[in-house]
């Protein structure tokens, strides 16, 4: 299936057809998700209604990890098989991933203020998420750093591959560093065994975020495809 979709013009046509459906799906899922998250789900025993922030925080975290994984896979495809669509997808994924990691940090900080009393704590997961955000920024900076835009594709793909090997090491070292310097407060999350009434809004919000991800990546990939086509036509002298 990857081969079938890998042809750029076929990708173009199929996703062009899918765009209105994706938009409708996104709006439906978002409305249902917000209804369930804000109105229909129960409050936590300890945290009160602030657990509702979890329905935005956890999907953001999952989506940032997901986009980082997809970014490394697409960069690997680009380095090994030199497929132009892989590079276009990586460039489209990077801003979305950066936004999701930033949102995870912001919502986590806002959630932390009523829970832990501070806006920020150097928790292992928060620190790893911050490093992930900086990694996305570095990728975006490197891929757009060159005069001719496509010159930056392969260095950025190399960076993504090195970063993907490096990020588990970072996660491990930050976890270990955090256990060395145990924070004084006890951090409580929303509960490890999650109840069904809380699981439903979480799943719906995650699906909504995934649809958002696919939609924005496809939109950005389209614009990059068109710009590259025009650039190549200019270079060939046909315009």
């Amino acid at each position: 299936m990857i081969d079938y979709l890998a042809n750029p013009s076929r990708f173009f046509r199929i996703t062009n057809f899918l765009l209105p459906w994706l938009m409708g799906l996104l709006i439906t899922l978002t409305i249902i998700g917000i209804y369930f998250a804000l109105f229909d789900s129960p409050e936590d025993l300890v945290q009160g209604s602030a657990v509702r922030i979890m329905y935005v925080h956890v999907p953001s975290a999952w989506l940032s990890i997901f986009s980082y994984l997809l970014l490394s896979i697409c960069s690997f495809f680009f380095i090994v098989w030199r497929h132009p669509l892989a590079d276009i997808l990586s460039r489209s994924i990077a801003p979305v991933g950066a936004l999701f990691s930033l949102l995870t940090l912001l919502t986590g900080s806002i959630w932390g203020r009523p829970m832990w009393g501070t806006w920020w704590v150097w928790d292992a997961r928060l620190t790893s998420m911050l490093i992930l955000f900086i990694f996305f920024l570095g990728y975006i900076a490197l891929s757009n750093a060159f005069e001719k835009n496509e010159r930056g594709s392969r260095p950025a793909a190399l960076l993504a591959i090195v970063g993907s090997i490096n990020l588990p090491i970072v996660k491990f070292s930050v976890d270990w560093w955090n256990t060395l310097h145990q924070p004084a407060s006890i951090i409580r999350t929303g509960g490890i065994s999650i109840d069904q009434s809380m699981l439903v809004p979480l799943i719906i919000m995650t699906l909504a975020f995934h649809t958002f991800f696919i939609l924005v990546v496809v939109l950005r990939a389209h614009s990059i495809l068109i710009e590259r086509k025009v650039y190549h036509l200019k270079v060939l002298g046909k315009i």
């Binding site: 900086i134 900076a141 490197l142 060159f146 260095p155 490096n166 970072v170 070292s173």
Partner: protein, 222 residues
């Protein structure tokens, strides 16, 4: 092959240390960065002792990152890199030699200087050699990561900003392990576990960094 490698090695050493004053400049940069911390933290020795591992490692990282993006520029402009690329020697070996020479010109003076630094920061001196060894492992890793970052931004505009953005996430595990080693040493324990972790990251970088750097140089030379 061996004579080729040794000639490249000596040439690199001469280029990076044009005069005998160059290690002094590196030491000067390190000392001026180091000076900032006691001035901002206050001269009471307690705070300084608590922060000293972080101070040592942060200053060495910044010293390694000064002008790292210009590492290949003189070689490119002289056409030396193309000549090396065309020779029989694999580019990874050349990159390793360059990284080693970069370490010798930047890291080695720091490690020689370290007993003096420990007097400035009032550190207990019994496990000094272990700290020097962990600094050696860490700074060698910094050289390898720095040369990788420099190769990735070859030919970019605003490369001095981007290279730091790229390099810092890659150096975070090394910083964490190194500072933990130094912390344990300052408390009087020999940090076997963190030294193993530092060796692991160094060997990992020794494998990865030449490959990535040579790929990036090949991308530039196309």
């Amino acid at each position: 092959m061996k004579s080729k490698m040794s000639s490249i090695f000596y040439r690199e050493l001469k280029v990076q240390n044009k005069s005998l004053k160059d290690p002094l400049f590196v030491i000067g940069v390190y000392l001026s960065l180091l000076l900032i911390f006691p001035l901002s933290l206050g001269p009471s020795s307690n705070l300084l002792k608590n922060f000293s591992p972080a101070i040592i490692w942060t200053c060495s990282l910044i010293t390694f990152l000064t002008a790292i993006e210009k590492f290949f520029i003189s070689d490119i402009s002289e056409g030396y890199l193309e000549q090396l690329f065309l020779s029989n020697l694999p580019l990874s070996v050349i990159v390793l030699i360059k990284a080693l020479c970069h370490w010798i010109s930047v890291g080695f003076p720091l490690i020689i200087l370290f007993p003096l630094i420990s007097i400035f920061l009032n550190l207990p001196l019994n496990l000094l050699w272990i700290i020097c060894f962990s600094l050696f492992l860490g700074t060698l890793s910094f050289s390898l990561i720095g040369i990788m970052g420099a190769a990735l931004v070859l030919g970019a505009k605003k490369s001095n900003v981007i290279v730091i953005l790229i390099i810092i996430p890659l150096t975070i595990p090394i910083l964490i392990f190194g500072i933990s080693s130094t912390l344990f040493c300052l408390e009087g324990l020999i940090p076997y576990s963190t030294l193993y972790l530092q060796c692991m990251s160094l060997s990992f970088l020794l494998a990865i960094s030449p490959i990535v750097t040579s790929s990036a140089i090949k991308i530039y030379l196309e």
